[in-house]
């Protein structure tokens, strides 16, 4: 697990495909369960809206978004 990966609520995690033709997957971060915004993350998957815990590996990157401060 990429223990040093940080994510905030609303960020998206992209899981890159492993095989030729395999699409990237992405999910929305709902909660960081680790200390200081670290993994594991509670996430919601694309169209289905199903939630799971996510333990990022080297195939995952975070897309950070600016969050409103009000």
């Amino acid at each position: 697990m990429q223990a040093d990966m940080h994510a905030s609520v609303g960020d998206r995690i992209v899981v890159h495909g492993h095989r030729v033709g395999e699409p990237d997957r992405d999910c929305e971060v709902l909660e960081a369960r680790g200390a200081d915004g670290r993994a594991p993350f509670l996430v919601r998957w694309g169209e289905s809206g199903h939630e799971s815990l996510f333990f990022p590996g080297p195939d995952a990157t975070v897309k950070h978004y600016e969050h409103a401060s009000h």
Binding site: M1, V15, W45, F54, F55, G57, D59
Partner: protein, 148 residues
């Protein structure tokens, strides 16, 4: 090399009280073939796409049956900091295709035979390249330096 360095894919976990339908949908969305089954922070099992077919679908189990009814348990685990050779030994002795990787007894990822095989095949190809080149394209012997 540490076991955690051999992990190639992200791990996905599901609560033990979720349904087999949820498990299948999460596998489909996340692109993984196995989920860690968790009771709170505790790893209690692993459910694979094969488990869903053989233990749920083939037995006409209801879609809302709990996932812990079809999971495999206990789980064969390996410490994230253990040498990767220890993983090879566990694969050999337990006849499994994936191991749950843990750190301080918390699940952190999954390591699979398939990923290790791909890495080994790439390493073997690198090692074989100069030998193959020499077999196919024989090198001329280097000339012996002339002695004055």
């Amino acid at each position: 090399m540490r076991t955690i360095d051999g992990v190639r894919r992200s791990g996905v976990g599901i609560s033990a009280d979720r349904s087999v339908h949820d498990a299948a949908a999460i596998m489909e969305q996340s692109g993984v073939g196995a989920l860690a089954v968790l009771d709170g922070d505790l790893l209690v099992g692993v459910v694979t796409d094969r488990d869903l077919v053989r233990r749920a679908l083939a037995k006409r189990m209801e879609n809302d049956a709990r996932v812990d009814a079809v999971m495999s348990s206990p789980v064969v685990t390996i410490d994230a900091e253990a040498d990767l050779h220890a993983a090879f030994a566990l694969f050999r002795t337990h006849s499994v295709r994936r191991l749950a990787v843990v750190r301080e007894e918390q699940f952190v990822g999954m390591i699979t035979v398939d990923d290790l095989l791909v890495d080994l095949a790439a390493d073997l190809a690198d090692l074989a390249r100069p030998v193959t080149a020499e077999v196919l394209f024989a090198h001329r012997d280097s000339p012996v330096p002339a002695i004055a």
